[in-house]
C-alpha cells in the first residue's frame, strides 16, 4: 500500500473536478490550481524519495493481481518525470495567475490544464500498454481543447494538423496494441517484455517495434512526422505553449524509452539503428527549420524538434552512458524549453508581438530580463557551465565511445546552429533598437506592473533550476545514472511488477 504512486494522477484529476465545480469564479480556480500543482510537486518528491529507498513502487489497481489487472508502476525515470511535471505544472499555474484572459478561464482553461497534467502523469506511471494508450488520449483530448481556446484562425488551422496527426498516431498505436495482444496474449508491459524475450525472434516483432516507433515518433515530433508541431505550438496562449513545449513531446520520448528498453530489445541491431537515423535527421531538420524562422515561438518550436533528436540519440546509442545522457537531457530540456516560452510571453506582454522584426530594445530598458533570457538560451545551445552543456557532453561522449561519427558530428553541428538561433533572438529582441512605430509604452514605463512581476516568478524559478543543474551536476548525474541502470536492467522491472506471478 503506497499511495504516493497514484497521488500524482489523483491530485490533478481532483483539481480538475474542483476547478470545474468553481467555473464561475476565476479567483478560486487560480488558487486551487496553485495549491494542486504544489501538491503534485510534493507527491512527486515523495515518490522520488521512496523510490530511492526501494527501487520500484508498484500498485495493482483495485487489488487485481498483475498481469491481469491494471498496474501502476514507477521506476526512477517515471519518478523523475513526475517531479518535472510538478515543477512545470507549478510554473504554469503561477504564470497563468497573471497571463490568462478571463475569457479563456471561463471556457475551462484551468480544468483542462489539470486534465492534461493528469494525462501526462498517468502516462508516466502506466504499467500496462493499453492503460498508456488511455492516458495518452486523456492528455490529447485536453491538449486539443487547450490548443483551440480562443478560436482564432491560426489556432484552428494549427489544430486541424495537430488533431489529425495525433489521431492517426493513436490509431497506429491501437493497432499495434491489438497485434501485440494477438501475439503474446497480455497487455502488462513487464509481462510483454518477459514473454517476448522468450519467444523466437520473428519479423513480426520488428514490425510491431516500427509501429510503436511511428506512433510515439509522431507524438514526440521525430523526423519525418514532426511538422504538426511547428504548425501549432505558436498559436495558443503562451502559457499553453509553454506547457505543451515542456511536457507533451516528452511523453512521447518517455514512451519510446520505455518500450525500447523493456519490450523491443531482442534485435537492437535493427531497431536501434533506425532510431539512430531518425534521431540524426530529427536534430538536423529541426535546427535548419529554426534558422529560417522570424517568429519567437516558432523558432523555439523548431528547436523542440531538434532537441528531441538528442534525446532519441541517447536511446538509439543504447550504451549506459548514452542512456544517462538521454535522461539528463530530458530533465534539462523540459525546464529550459518551458522557461524560454514563458520569456517569450513576458516579451509579448511588454511589446505586444512575437514577430522578431517588430521587437527590439529590451536590453536597454530591462537588462535583467535579457539576462534571464540569456541563461536558458545559452543552456539550450550547450554553453558551459550551464545544464545543457553537461547534457550534450554526455550524449556526444557516448557517441564517440561507440564510434558513431556521423551522429556525433551532427550533434556538434546542431549545437552550433542552436547557438546561432539563440543569438538571432538575442540580437533581434534584446540588442537591436526598437523599430519605428511600435508602441513601447509598457516597455519604458517605470510603474510597477504587478502582473508582470507574477509572470517573472516562474521564469526566475526555472532559471535557478537550470543554474542548479549546471553548477551542481553531480547529484543530478547520479540520479540519471541510477535511472539508466534500471532502464538497462529490465529483469528487475519485470520482477517488481509481476512479483511471485512470474
Amino acid at each position: 500500500m503506497s499511495p504516493e504512486v497514484v497521488l500524482p494522477i489523483i491530485i490533478p484529476l481532483l483539481a480538475g473536478a474542483l476547478t470545474l465545480a468553481f467555473w464561475r469564479s476565476t479567483f478560486y480556480q487560480r488558487w486551487i490550481s496553485l495549491f494542486a500543482t504544489t501538491a503534485l510537486l510534493g507527491s512527486g518528491i515523495w515518490l522520488l524519495s521512496s523510490i530511492r529507498e526501494t527501487g520500484f513502487v508498484v500498485m495493482q489497481m483495485g487489488g487485481w493481481a498483475a498481469p491481469f489487472g491494471i498496474t501502476i508502476v514507477a521506476d526512477l525515470l517515471s519518478a523523475i518525470m513526475i517531479v518535472l511535471t510538478g515543477i512545470i505544472g507549478l510554473a504554469i499555474a503561477v504564470f497563468s495567475m497573471a497571463a490568462t484572459p478571463d475569457k479563456h478561464q471561463k471556457f475551462g482553461y484551468f480544468p483542462l490544464m489539470h486534465l492534461l497534467l493528469a494525462g501526462v502523469a498517468g502516462s508516466f506511471l502506466a504499467g500496462d500498454i493499453f492503460n498508456l494508450f488511455v492516458w495518452f488520449e486523456v492528455m490529447l483530448l485536453a491538449s486539443f481543447a487547450l490548443l483551440t481556446l480562443g478560436g482564432e484562425r491560426a489556432q484552428m488551422e494549427g489544430a486541424i494538423k495537430y488533431v489529425t496527426l495525433n489521431l492517426f498516431s493513436s490509431a497506429i498505436f491501437l493497432s499495434a496494441i491489438g497485434l501485440l495482444y494477438g501475439m503474446v496474449g497480455t497487455l502488462n508491459m513487464a509481462d510483454i517484455g518477459d514473454k517476448l524475450s522468450q519467444v523466437e525472434h520473428t519479423g513480426m516483432v520488428n514490425v510491431l517495434a516500427m509501429m510503436f516507433l511511428i506512433s510515439f515518433g509522431i507524438k514526440a515530433a521525430a523526423f519525418p512526422l514532426f511538422f504538426w508541431l511547428p504548425a501549432s505550438y505558436h498559436t495558443p496562449l503562451v502559457g499553453v505553449s509553454a506547457l505543451f513545449a515542456g511536457l507533451l513531446t516528452k511523453v512521447g520520448v518517455y514512451a519510446l524509452y520505455r518500450v525500447f528498453t523493456l519490450i523491443f530489445i531482442g534485435d537492437t541491431g535493427y531497431t536501434h539503428t533506425i532510431l539512430l537515423w531518425v534521431a540524426v535527421l530529427t536534430m538536423l531538420t529541426g535546427v535548419l527549420g529554426a534558422a529560417a524562422q522570424f517568429e519567437f515561438r516558432r523558432i523555439l518550436s523548431f528547436h523542440i524538434v531538434s532537441q528531441i533528436g538528442y534525446m532519441l540519440l541517447g536511446l538509439a546509442l543504447f550504451t549506459p552512458l548514452a542512456i544517462i545522457g538521454g535522461v539528463f537531457y530530458i530533465m534539462h530540456h523540459i525546464i529550459v524549453k518551458t522557461n524560454l516560452f514563458l520569456i517569450s510571453g513576458v516579451v509579448y506582454r511588454l511589446l505586444g508581438s512575437y514577430d522578431l522584426k517588430k521587437l527590439g530594445g529590451v536590453y536597454k530598458q530591462r537588462p535583467w530580463l535579457a539576462i534571464l533570457f540569456l541563461i536558458p538560451a545559452l543552456s539550450l545551445a550547450g554553453i558551459p557551465p550551464l545544464s545543457g552543456f553537461f547534457a550534450k557532453f554526455l550524449v556526444i561522449r557516448a557517441g564517440l565511445e561507440v564510434d558513431a561519427w556521423i551522429a556525433t558530428g551532427t550533434a556538434l553541428l546542431v549545437g552550433l546552429l542552436t547557438l546561432y538561433s539563440m543569438i538571432k533572438i538575442w540580437a533581434e529582441v534584446f540588442w537591436k533598437k526598437l523599430p519605428e512605430g511600435i508602441d513601447d509604452s509598457r516597455l519604458i514605463s517605470n510603474r510597477t506592473d504587478s502582473q508582470l512581476l507574477v509572470m517573472l516568478i516562474p521564469v526566475v524559478g526555472l532559471t535557478l533550476c537550470t543554474l542548479y543543474i549546471g553548477l551542481n551536476g553531480e547529484p543530478i548525474y547520479q540520479l540519471a545514472s541510477d535511472a539508466a541502470d534500471q532502464l538497462l536492467n529490465p529483469a528487475a522491472y519485470i520482477e517488481a511488477v509481476l512479483g511471485e506471478n512470474l
Binding site: F130, F133, V134, E137, L140, L141, F144, A145, T148, G151, E152, R153, A154, M156, E157, G158, A159, I160, K161, V163, T164, L167, F168, S170, A171, I172, L174, S175, I177, G178, L179, Y181, G182, L187, F227, A231, S232, H234, T235
Partner: protein, 115 residues
C-alpha cells in the same frame, strides 16, 4: 472468416487513408472515423474469432466450462470506441469552427501556419 476480416480491415485502412489525403476537411474527419473503426476491427480479428460462450464461471466450478470467448479484446474495443467517440466529437466541433473562421473547407487554404 479470419481471411475475410483481414480483407475488410485492409480495405477500411486503405479507404481511411484515401479519405484523409483529400482536400476537404469533412472527408478528413470521415477518414479519421473509418481509421478508428479499422483499428478496432483489427483488435477483434487478431485476438482470435472464437464462437464461444461468455466467460462466466458456473457456481461451484473453478474454471469456465467449454469454449469461452476472450473478454479482454472486447473490453479494449469498448474503451477505444468510447475514446474515439469523445475525440471525434471534438474533431467535428473543430472542423465546424474552422469552417466558420476560415470560410472554406479546403485544406489547401489552411496553410497560414506553415511558412
Amino acid at each position: 472468416m479470419e481471411s475475410l476480416m483481414a480483407y475488410v480491415i485492409g480495405i477500411l485502412f486503405a479507404a481511411a487513408i484515401y479519405m484523409m489525403l483529400r482536400r476537404s476537411i469533412v472527408k478528413l474527419v470521415i477518414g479519421l472515423i473509418i481509421l478508428s473503426n479499422a483499428a478496432n476491427l483489427l483488435i477483434f480479428a487478431v485476438s482470435g474469432m472464437t464462437r464461444g460462450a461468455p466467460p462466466l464461471i458456473p457456481e461451484g466450478a473453478a474454471a469456465p466450462l467449454g469454449i469461452i470467448a476472450d473478454p479482454l479484446p472486447q473490453a479494449l474495443i469498448l474503451t477505444a470506441i468510447v475514446i474515439a467517440f469523445g475525440v471525434l466529437a471534438f474533431a467535428v466541433v473543430l472542423i465546424h469552427r474552422a469552417y466558420e473562421v476560415v470560410g472554406n473547407d479546403d485544406l489547401d487554404q489552411m496553410k497560414d501556419t506553415d511558412t
